[in-house]
């Protein structure tokens, strides 16, 4: 089946069969050497992550650089960073869906996968950074034999528990439900594969069984599509405020506290903008690599990347605005402690972190003003990396510089991350990329049914 070319710039113009073959090629061929190398690196970082984790359970949190004024260090920096990354996926799926942005279809699957993995990585951090992780289930308000012993509903950390678990579960449902038609597609393609050995046959059978189970008996009925479409709309409508609420609540961890530099009303929008900023940058990084390695240039076009670049430009300016406003608020507040914290960011012992953040987050997105640069893969790639570095430093600046010098100068101290802190940070990338690399080889990285739906729509319009 072929379609005449239409005006839509995101129109692909391939047969459905061709689309299937293109997108499923990575899953149906043996992984390349590059993939194996990348996977080995990621997996060994994951192993390091696990190793440090076990060591910290055995020895105690003292192996990290935390101390009295700075009770939260790289763990929370990483947590906020990864939660931020985890925002772009749902945002692309949900908000762009609500705004009927066609360009979402080619990237939403991978972006959602990124969300799931980033939230998983993020959620690990607050769980393992507590002093007694074996009691971390106490944050759930379950009835227990200690009599009426419950949780403190006023704690932003408890809100986090609810927000992040809800976000994770809803995102997972959204992602999974989006995959079901593609699973069915995969299920129905299996017949073309023949096993050449006993083991191969066994694996193939397992794969077939698994696919049948996870595709939930999808038959492509219009009646199902009818409900399904509604569900996508509703989940999008739910996920949009959810995604905003999650980072808002993460920002409450800081904003509801009393620490100067944390206690700011601008935090919720500031954090959400930052999350979108970093999330899109990460999507950009991943898409540039993915389209190149899996030859998906027809699906993820320069136009897609350019749009992401524009989002980065806009959110980058929002973040810059937030930085400015923070300083203005401090200056205007006549609160000496607040003022000191911001002066300390500019010129204190962690000024290097602030200026790194400034250079990465405030300066670099402005390259996106230029169409030529927006269409330059190298520039886009570098900027996407730089923005993520900057956003990591933003969290570092917020968490560490606010804590290390607060009200009483007597308790001021420095925070120096140890090798284990850095190991956990690197390791978290390992965890993320291990999952992501597995994802690109096992699941369709582009939502096939949705691409087809758009293509079908094009054909209907063309027919008119």
């Amino acid at each position: 089946m072929s379609l005449e070319s239409v005006k839509n710039p995101f129109h692909i113009g391939k047969t459905f069969k061709q689309i299937d073959d293109d997108i499923m090629r990575p899953m149906e061929t043996f992984p390349s050497k590059t993939w194996w190398i990348a996977f080995l690196i990621a997996a060994s970082l994951l192993a390091m992550f696990a190793g440090i984790l076990i060591y910290s359970f055995v020895k105690g949190l003292g192996i990290f650089g935390l101390n009295n004024p700075v009770g939260w260090g790289l763990y929370i920096v990483n947590f906020v960073f990864w939660v931020g990354i985890g925002h772009a996926g749902t945002l692309i799926s949900a908000i762009l869906f609500l705004f009927r942005q066609r360009w979402r279809t080619s990237i939403n699957r991978a972006a959602e996968a990124m969300t799931i993995f980033a939230v998983m990585v993020a959620a690990i951090f607050p769980l393992i950074h507590v002093g007694r992780p074996w009691f971390v289930f106490w944050v759930f308000p379950y009835p227990n034999e200690r009599g009426p012993l419950w949780v403190n509903w006023r704690s932003p950390l408890l809100w986090d528990v609810f927000a992040i678990s809800t976000y994770f579960i809803i995102s997972l449902q959204f992602w999974y439900m989006g995959l079901v038609p593609d699973f069915a597609n995969m299920r129905d393609r299996q017949e073309r594969f023949k096993a050449r050995s006993k083991i191969g046959e066994l694996l193939l059978t397992v794969k077939k069984i698994t696919l049948r189970v996870i595709s939930l008996g999808w038959v492509g009925s219009a009646k199902t599509w009818h409900h399904y479409e509604k569900m996508v709309l509703i989940l999008s409508a739910l996920a949009t405020p959810l995604v905003l609420s999650v980072h808002t609540i993460v920002s409450f961890d800081f904003a509801t506290s009393i620490i100067p530099g944390w206690h700011a009303t601008i935090f919720p929008p500031y954090f959400v903008a930052g999350a979108i900023y970093s999330g899109f940058a990460m999507v950009l990084t991943l898409m540039i690599i993915m389209r190149r390695t899996f030859k998906l240039e027809d699906y993820i076009t320069m136009k897609h990347l350019e749009n992401i670049g524009l989002v980065i430009l806009v959110t980058g300016m929002m973040v810059s605005y937030a930085y400015t406003v923070e300083f203005v608020i401090a200056a205007y507040s006549a609160n000496k402690v607040e003022q000191y914290v911001f002066m300390n960011r500019l010129a204190g012992p962690y000024a290097w972190a602030f200026w790194t953040m400034f250079a990465c987050n405030v300066v670099s997105p402005h390259f996106m003003w230029f169409k030529k640069l927006r269409n330059n893969l190298t520039v886009l790639f570098i900027i996407s990396i730089v923005v993520n570095i900057g956003m990591w430093f933003e969290r570092f600046v917020i968490v560490v510089t606010s804590l290390h010098r607060d009200y009483l100068p007597s308790s001021w101290d420095m925070y120096v991350p140890t090798i284990y802190d850095w190991g956990m940070m690197l390791g978290s990338f390992g965890v993320f990329f291990t999952f992501f690399l597995l994802f690109v080889r096992t699941l369709p990285v582009i939502a096939i049914a949705e691409v087809k739906a758009d293509e079908a729509n094009d054909s209907l319009h063309a027919a008119h």
Partner: protein, 1008 residues
Amino acid sequence: MSQAKNAKTKFTQIFRSVEVESETDKRWEEAGEFPASVREIMQRGADAGLTRKNFMALMGASLSMAGLNCFKSPIEKIVPYVNRPVGHVPGIAKYYATVKANAVSVAPVLVKTREGKPLKIEGHDDHPLYRGAITGDTVATIWDLYDPDRVRAPQKKSGTAFAEIKWEEAVKTAVSALEKSTVYIGKTNFSPSENATIDRLVKASANRSRVVYDPTSSIGEALKGEKASYGTNVVPTYRFDTADLILSLEADLLGTWLQPELYTKQFSSKRDPLAGNMNRLIVAEANMSVTGSNADDRYALVSGSHISLALGLANLLLPGSALAGNAQVRKAVENYTASAVSASTGLTEKQIVSLAEELKKYKGRSLVVSGGASAAVDGNGISQVVANLLNTILGNDGKTLSSATPFYSGANITSDTEIKKVISDIAAGKIETVVIDRANPVYELEALGFQEALSKAKNVIFLGTHINDSAALSSLILPVSHYLESWSDAESNGYYYVGQPAIRTLFSTKSSLDILLSLLGDGQSANALVQSTSQRFNKAGWNALLARGFTESSKLNTGAGRTFNAAALSSVAANPPKAGGYKLSLYSSVALGDGSGANISFRQELPDPISKMTWGNYLAVSVADARANGWKMGKNVKITAEGKSIEAPVFVQPGLRKGSVAMAIGYGQKNLGQVGANIGVNAYSLASAKSGNMITAGIPVTVEDASGSSEMATTQKHYELARERGLVRSTTLQEFQKNPRAGHEHEEVPHGGKAKGLYTAHKYTPYQWNMNIDLSKCTGCSACVVSCYSENNIPVVGKDQVLVGREMSWMRIDRYYSYQNEDQAKADPDMVDPGVYFQPVMCQHCENAPCENVCPVGATGHSDDGLNYMSYNRCIGTRYCANDCPFKVRRFNYFEFWEGKLRDPEQFALNPDVTVRSRGVIEKCSFCQQRIAEKRQSAKIAGRQLSDGEIKTACQQACPADAIVFGNIQDKEAKVTKLKEDSRAYQLLAETNVKPAVSYMVKIRNQG
């Protein structure tokens, strides 16, 4: 008692085994020493019901907190008493009065015991002089008792190692060694019984001699000076509570000099600005001491130049005084003109003249004191002589100081000349046996070459608790018991004290008196000797004496003024020495003192009140010198004095004049124990011996850069902004009298004080606990900090953890340097005269506590009596509360600090009423919840309400300055309520509306 096969069972037996118990009882009964009231102390609990709390609460707490209570609890046994002592109720603490006397001080104390175990040392509230005053060092002696590194049995050197021997053999060896020519080297001693016994021992043979020395130069300097000035062998009693002006020349009377707890008590009793009862403290010193930091006026001197200042003042004050006609005096002081003194001390002429003018105004009601290692410029007690001279000129003698009921009247000090002769005799083999009694001359007298001489001695008998540098070189060690295991006595300030044991000896040790008596071989027991000595002083009967712990030996009176012997000034230089180069002063640190207790990690980790340094000493240098040489904190330098040099890190200390450098003694011991050895450097090795005397002040040294730098384990690194943020508030007495709200200039009052919270406040009835801390009284002495550690089972974390900022102190004393205003700050860029402010900060128990809000599991909240509680067993350790605490008083257990870390018998020092925290939980000040609960429970049992002042927190109880008041704010008549309403009261960070339960009182300095 059988020798232990295994240390663990041994200590368990001490408290549990009835077998051992009855055996001991029999022994004591046979000796007939124990009156009924005391015997019960010795009836240590075999009640395992309590032992369970003691053992399991301490050792097992973290286990059960780790959730093992999900499983079946382990079977526990209860072994009750066979015969329970009358009046003993398991679980209820008993207090015994005793005395802690060491070489330089006497402290009446109460020992809190539970089931026969001493748990805590507290001040003796009923003592009319001390009124509960205690030093941190005395509080810390509870850990001395349970120090695992104590020598556990007599040791004899065979080859290079020591081997345990039996007491009988040890005594036999010692007695035969004493038959040779012998020198008995000890320190100053307050005990009449011991002094008499030592005298008997020494005089028993003609070839025995006695050496008494004091390396801290506190009593030593005073005795030498008194002898020169008045020909007496006593140190007078100082009455800081009667002096309106105190001039201290290098005497750290609030920190380390003689009896700082008593002096603090006396000093602070006259720091009540509301009643107008304010004394004036003027300190002239080189190094910044606790006293100097509390001075109303402080004069930073060139190291060792306080003699010049004193003589200069004498020169100005002489006309018209009692000594005006004394030509000898006039001759001695006449060259000390204001300008000459100015050149010597670094002060301006105007300062000197105005100081003299002021002293003149306080004739007869002032007090001049001088002493300590940093005052010992000639080894002959000149500092005491010049203090005496000034006191005589000012007519203070007999008014604010008393020689009639002396502070010290024990063994007389041996002059350095004689000590040098003894040392050369040892070196020459003329003295074959050296007895070292609870001293460490190898370490302390390094400058006099003691160590080299000692190697020539045939027999070295060491009496002491640890294998210190001297013990390591001895041939026989006779382990001395802790004072809580011994009978002892002391006489001081017109009181006679009896020290009674509170526990049987933990190890195979004997009391010092018992050892001395056994060396004499006349079979008398220490108990009998003390009893007979006490009859000289005590009229009320032995049991009454034991119950009280002391008796008045003679009525405390000031006596008449004495005649000053002007010949004492003969050694004074005709002209004041000129300032120039680096001059080093040695000083005793508050934490370690003379260093004998350096093996206690709590002492090592107690931050120095001024520098906030832990775990080691350093060379304090002035800001000007640091700037000129580019020295940063921790830069290693090489200090050379008379050819001997050591390397130490630099600490940039505000309050020092250019050229003055200072270093603490007590550090750098090579042997002591697992904790105390090789921490810091031995400052004694820089002491000057050129003149033949050992000199510890004003030593000319050269300071050169050495390679590298050291990490400085300070607990406070910043002191700026304290005034601008309204954290410490101070004003002068004059300002305060004009404006009672003076000092609150930097208070932030949002919305003009009319801001209302979102919520209506909760009501707390009938109790709501509050605390008030008077910054005018607080001297920063840190007794409260030690007491808090002892009461609340706070772990010591070690240098590496302090370096990363993880000290666990529930209560810290913030120290700030500040100036009254910008102009003052600009005028003193080198920070020679900064104002020093101390601010004890513990959990503020905020009514609107930010920490409570953020705990997801509700481990911390507000109790019905207004406390911010912390349930360790609910804590999962998110550390959010610690982050959100604006005072940063919450501490997190980054590692397991107790379980498996305690060395037997350290666990017995733990308070069974306080849960030992495991790894991964937050802890913080609880306002001594266990003390509140105990009193509330007993009030409930008695069916009454608590009265004001009934509950005392550990810090309040230890505070010698009475700066801390604790009570129920709901009681309108309570002292704490009244203080909170005072115009001086303020709360930290009140602008954040956290509503702290702790309020502070503006510091009032009485300036000019």
